[in-house]
């Protein structure tokens, strides 16, 4: 009877390499590998995207400088940025920011117009009821203007990122 091999140094069936180590063709030691918790072997695209844009060495340095409980979020945001940059090599995430800022500006206009309507209706209603107070203070804020745009049109000609 042949005894089953019990090699402890080579990767066994129970410890497949993480996506990073598989991509980099190196041995993966899950307890030591900085990438293993965040790049499971089932999702090889995640690491290949991040590697293509940021590089393994840069990601490793970044993760080492971050507290362990924040590393998963960091990896996910890096993966998001990498994917966005691969889809849009010119604007990356900045393209999406620009779109959302336009939506915010549009909604602000809509809010201003709707607030004006509310004031009009409130005034008319008060006049019709001769002093009946309109109780619309249930949490509403007619002067809501909570938008703050950090910059305008980052993709425009006057964009200045320096």
């Amino acid at each position: 009877m042949a005894s089953s091999s019990s090699s402890s140094s080579s990767s066994s069936y129970s410890n497949p390499p993480c996506a990073a180590c598989k991509f980099l063709r190196r041995k993966c030691q899950p307890t030591l590998c900085i990438f293993a918790p965040y790049f499971p072997p089932e999702d090889p695209t995640k690491f290949s995207n991040v590697h293509r844009i940021f590089g393994a060495s840069n990601v490793s340095k970044l993760l080492n400088d971050i507290m362990p409980h924040q590393r998963e979020d960091a990896v996910n945001s890096l993966a998001y940025e990498a994917e966005a940059r691969l889809k849009d090599p010119v604007y990356g995430c900045v393209g999406a920011i620009s779109l959302l800022q336009s939506q915010v500006a549009q909604l602000q206009k809509e809010l201003d117009a709707t607030n004006a309507d509310l004031m009009r209706f409130t005034t008319i209603n008060n006049n019709n009821n001769h002093g009946r107070v309109a109780g619309y203070g249930g949490g509403s804020d007619p002067n809501y203007s909570g938008f703050s745009l950090p910059y305008s049109n980052p993709g425009g000609e006057d964009a200045n990122y320096s």
């Binding site: 590089g55 915010v104 980052p154």
Partner: protein, 128 residues
């Protein structure tokens, strides 16, 4: 020492060739700009991204790479993705606010309709 080297070649301590991929977008008077992208992306990756683009789009690409790199340095965990999240929250808040104000307007309009059809001769039902 060649004083006309771009910021990238100065940072990388190499000669700046006449066809340097970085020099149009990383002038020597702004060393921090290249330092940021080098720290986050690496010179090689930035060079590849720029090389793969038509010349007329490289300036915008360099600008957005610098922007994202600077955001990542300021916020190593979320980088520029935090702005996306914040904007998304603002949009959700605005939608809720709009819905609330429209509901208030609908209430006022409904009250106006009730007032308009109010019958001054209305008598409540009497119990026998």
């Amino acid at each position: 020492m060649n004083s006309s080297r771009c910021a990238a070649c100065k940072h990388l301590r190499r000669r700046c060739p006449s066809d340097c991929i970085f020099s149009p977008y990383f002038p020597s008077n702004n060393p921090q700009r290249f330092a940021f992208v080098h720290k986050i992306y690496g010179a090689s990756n930035v060079g590849k991204i720029l090389q793969d683009l038509p010349v007329n789009l490289r300036s915008k690409a360099a600008d957005t790479l610098c922007y994202e790199a600077s955001r990542r340095i300021e916020d190593p965990v979320y980088g520029v993705v935090r702005e996306l999240t914040n904007l998304d929250e603002e949009i959700q808040k605005a939608h809720c606010q709009l819905a609330r104000i429209r509901a208030q307007i609908a209430v006022i309009q409904a009250r106006d309709e009730v007032d308009n059809v109010n019958n001054p001769n209305f008598f409540p039902p009497q119990n026998d």
